[in-house]
C-alpha cells in the first residue's frame, strides 16, 4: 500500500525528511491483516505489553536495589517496606515474569496448532525461538538478584550444569561465577546482564515484527491472504481488539499482584541466601519445570561416550532447539490443525505431555517419577522427530477453503 498524501504541512515537512508518519501508517491503517483472526492472535501484542511493563518496573527497582551479597536481600525488603509503592513495583515485576511466560507459551502453542511456523514464516518463527531463549536467560538471572535461598541454590545448580561439557566446561562455569562458587562477582555480572538482555529482547522483537509485517499474519484457517476481501486494515480493527484483550489480561495479571503476589514464588526465597545451608528441595521457577524434568530424565550414559549429566544438559537444550527445525520436520502442506484431523489430536497430546513434564519437574528425582519423566521426554522428542515427519506423509487432510473470504462469508448470512 502506498503512503497517504499528508495534508498537515508540518507532518508533510517531517515525513518527507524522515518518514515516521508513513511508517506508522504502514504498520497500522495501511497494514492488511486477515479478517478472521481469533483471540489467540492477541497474545503477541500481550507479550510486547508485558515486555514494556517489565522494563519500566525494572528501571524503578534498580533505583533502590543494591547488587551486593551483603545488601541485596535487605535492599529488596527496603523496596517492599520503605520505598513509596515499592511493593507494587516489585510485585508487578515479579508476577510479570510469570505472566510473560504464560503469554509466550500460549503464543508458541498457538503457532504450533495453526502451523504458523511454515513457509514463508520460518524466520519469524526462529526469531521467536531466539526470543524465548533470551527470555529464559533474563528470567533466570533476574531470579538470582534478590539473593534468597532459591536465588543462590538455583543459580548454583543451573550454572553447575555447564561443567558437564568436556574440556571447556569448568572454564565456562568459572567464567559464569567470576570465581569458584556463586558469590558476589556472580551476582554483579548477573545484575549487569539482567539489565542488558531485555534491550536485546527489544531488538529481536523488532526483527520479529519486521518479519511479521513482511509476511503478514497467519490465521485460523491457515490459508494465505489472496485477495483484498480476505484482509482488513490492522487499525482500527485489531487495535481495538488488542486493547480489549489487554484490558482483560491486566485484570488477570493484577489479580495476582494484589491478592496472591507470592502465588508463583517459592517461600524459600524469603530466607536470605546462606551458602552453609542447602534447602531440602531446590526447584526452579514454574516456567522452567518442563525443561528441568527433561534435564533430570537422563540418568544413564549414552553409548558410553556421553555421560548422564552431559546427556541431560544436551537433551534440555535440544528440547528447545528442536523448535528451530520445526518448519522442516513438519512437511505437511496444510498449516492449520483445523484441516488436519490426525495432527489435531497429536497436538493436544503434545500439550498434555509438556504439562506433565512440568509436573514431573516439581517432583523429587525418585521413582516412579524418574521413569515417567523418561517416557515423557522420549515422547516429546518422538513427536517432533518421528510423529510429525510420518504424519506429513500419511495424513489425509480435509479439503481447504478456497480463500479466507470464501470461508468467512459462507458461514451464516448476517
Amino acid at each position: 500500500m502506498s503512503s497517504p498524501e499528508w495534508k498537515n504541512p508540518v507532518i508533510k515537512w517531517v515525513d518527507t525528511r524522515l518518514p515516521v508518519f508513513s511508517l506508522m501508517h504502514h504498520s497500522t491503517a495501511g497494514y492488511p491483516s486477515p479478517r478472521n483472526l481469533s483471540y489467540w492472535w492477541n497474545f503477541g501484542s500481550l507479550a510486547l505489553t508485558v515486555l514494556i511493563v517489565m522494563v519500566l518496573t525494572g528501571i524503578f527497582l534498580v533505583m533502590n536495589y543494591t547488587p551486593h551479597v551483603d545488601m541485596a536481600f535487605d535492599s529488596v525488603e527496603r523496596i517492599m517496606r520503605d520505598v513509596n509503592y515499592g511493593w507494587l513495583i516489585r510485585y508487578v515485576h515479579m508476577n510479570g515474569a510469570s505472566m510473560f511466560f504464560i503469554v509466550v507459551y500460549v503464543h508458541i502453542f498457538r503457532g504450533i496448532y495453526y502451523g504458523s511456523y511454515k513457509g514463508p514464516r520460518e524466520i519469524l518463527w526462529i526469531l521467536g525461538v531466539v526470543i524465548m531463549l533470551l527470555m529464559m536467560g533474563t528470567a533466570f538471572m533476574g531470579y538470582v538478584l534478590p539473593w534468597g535461598q532459591m536465588s543462590l541454590w538455583g543459580a548454583t545448580v543451573i550454572t553447575n550444569l555447564f561443567s558437564a561439557f568436556p574440556i571447556v566446561g569448568d572454564f565456562i562455569v568459572t567464567l559464569l561465577w567470576g570465581g569458584f562458587s556463586v558469590d558476589n562477582p556472580t551476582l554483579n555480572r548477573f545484575f549487569s546482564l539482567h539489565y542488558l538482555l531485555p534491550f536485546v529482547l527489544f531488538a529481536v522483537v523488532g526483527l520479529h515484527l519486521w518479519a511479521l509485517h513482511s509476511v503478514k499474519s497467519n490465521n485460523p484457517l491457515g490459508v494465505e491472504i489472496k485477495q483484498p476481501e480476505d484482509a482488513i486494515p490492522f487499525h482500527p480493527y485489531y487495535t481495538i481488539k488488542d486493547l480489549f484483550g489487554m484490558s482483560l489480561f491486566f485484570m488477570f495479571f493484577l489479580f495476582f499482584v494484589f491478592w496472591a503476589p507470592n502465588f508463583f514464588g517459592e517461600p524459600d526465597n524469603y530466607i536470605p541466601a546462606n551458602p552453609m545451608v542447602t534447602p531440602a528441595h531446590i526447584v526452579p521457577e514454574w516456567y522452567f519445570l518442563p525443561f528441568y524434568a527433561i534435564l533430570r530424565a537422563i540418568t544413564f550414559d549414552f553409548l558410553w561416550i556421553i555421560p548422564a549429566k552431559l546427556g541431560g544438559v544436551l537433551a534440555m537444550f535440544a528440547s528447545i532447539l528442536v523448535w528451530i527445525a520445526l518448519p522442516w520436520l513438519d512437511r505437511s502442506k496444510v498449516r492449520s490443525a483445523r484441516f488436519r484431523p490426525v495432527y489435531k489430536w497429536f497436538f493436544w497430546v503434545l500439550v498434555a505431555d509438556f504439562v506433565f513434564l512440568g509436573y514431573l519437574g516439581k517432583m523429587p528425582a525418585e521413582q516412579p517419577y524418574v521413569i515417567m519423566a523418561q517416557l515423557a521426554t522420549l515422547y516429546y522428542f518422538a513427536h517432533f522427530l518421528v510423529v510429525l515427519p510420518l504424519m506429513a506423509k500419511l495424513e489425509k487432510s480435509v479439503e481447504l477453503p478456497e480463500s479466507i473470504a470464501a470461508a468467512v462469508l459462507k458461514k451464516g448470512d448476517a
Partner: protein, 267 residues
C-alpha cells in the same frame, strides 16, 4: 473432548502448587482463619496489638524482627510518644563518640537509646551467640509468615503442633527415631525442634477482654507475624479493589467499542 483435556491440564497445574515433595508424614494444617485473608480481608488492629504484646513479652527473648522499624508500630495504633518509649527501652551501638574514640573508659562499646527510626534490636549480638544460648539458631521472624509453605497456616500449626504422644503415623515411618534432647513437633520438618513449646493458656495478660486461651494467643501472634511479613497488605488490597473496578469499566467500554467497530465486518 477438548474441554476434558483442558480440565485435566488445569487439575494437573493446580496439584503442582500443593504437592509436597518430601515423603515425610505431616497432618494437614490445623483449621484457622484470620481477618486478613480473602478478597476483602484486612488486619484487625486490636489483634495485631495483642500479637505484638506476645512478641515483646515472649518471643523477643530469642527472636529478632530486624526488618521492622519501631516507627512501623504506628500501623498498630501506637502514638508517637508510645513508640518513642518502646524504642528507648533498647539500646543500639554507636561506632564512636564525638572525638572518635571507639571504646569508653571501661573498654566497652558506646551505646545510645534506640529511636523510632531504628530497626528492631535483635536479642543476640550475633548468630553464634544466639546458637550458643538456644542450641539452634532462632530465625529472625520478620518474614517467617512468607518463608514457609502454607505461610500463616504453617506457623500457627507449628506453634500449636507440639505433642506429648507421638502418633502412630509418625513413629511407624522407616528411619524415625526418638530424640530426647529436642521437642517433638508434628509439623516441623524432621519433627524435632530446639524451641520448647511456647504457647499456653494465659501466657500473657490481655487488657481488651479477649479470652486468654492458648489458641487465641497463637492466632494473635500469627496475625502479628503476618503483618510483620506483609505490612502493605491493607493498602495493597484496597488499591487492588479500586484498580479492578476501574479495569472492569474500561474493559466493558473497550468491548462495546470493539463490537461497534466490528459491527459490519464478517469474521
Amino acid at each position: 473432548m477438548r474441554k476434558l483435556i483442558i480440565a485435566a491440564v488445569a487439575a494437573l497445574t493446580m496439584s503442582m502448587g500443593t504437592a509436597q515433595a518430601s515423603g515425610e508424614y505431616h497432618p494437614d494444617f490445623k483449621e484457622a482463619s484470620w481477618s486478613f485473608e480473602g478478597f476483602f480481608g484486612r488486619y484487625d488492629q486490636a489483634q495485631l496489638r495483642r500479637g505484638y504484646q506476645i512478641y515483646s513479652q515472649v518471643c523477643s527473648a530469642c527472636h529478632g524482627l530486624r526488618l521492622l522499624s519501631y516507627r512501623n508500630l504506628s500501623d498498630l495504633g501506637f502514638t508517637e510518644d508510645e513508640i518513642k518509649e518502646i524504642a528507648a527501652e533498647k539500646s543500639v551501638r554507636v561506632p564512636h563518640d564525638e572525638v572518635g574514640a571507639e571504646l569508653n573508659d571501661d573498654g566497652e562499646f558506646f551505646t545510645r537509646e534506640a529511636k523510632p527510626s531504628d530497626r528492631f534490636v535483635s536479642p543476640f549480638p550475633n548468630d553464634a551467640a544466639a546458637i550458643d544460648a538456644n542450641g539452634a539458631l532462632p530465625p529472625d521472624l520478620s518474614l517467617i509468615a512468607k518463608a514457609r509453605i502454607g505461610g500463616p497456616h504453617y506457623v500457627y500449626s507449628f506453634l500449636m503442633g507440639y505433642a506429648e504422644e507421638i502418633p502412630e503415623e509418625v513413629s511407624s515411618q522407616k528411619g524415625f527415631t526418638v530424640n530426647e534432647d529436642k521437642n517433638f513437633n508434628l509439623y516441623y520438618p524432621g519433627y524435632y525442634n530446639s524451641m520448647p513449646s511456647q504457647i499456653y493458656d494465659e501466657m500473657v495478660e490481655y487488657e481488651d477482654g479477649t479470652p486468654m486461651t492458648a489458641d487465641q494467643h497463637a492466632k494473635d501472634i500469627v496475625a502479628f507475624l503476618n503483618w510483620a511479613a506483609e505490612p502493605e497488605l491493607d493498602e495493597r488490597k484496597s488499591l487492588g479493589l479500586k484498580v479492578m473496578l476501574f479495569l472492569l469499566v474500561l474493559t466493558a467500554m473497550l468491548y462495546a467499542l470493539k463490537r461497534k467497530i466490528w459491527a459490519d465486518v464478517k469474521h
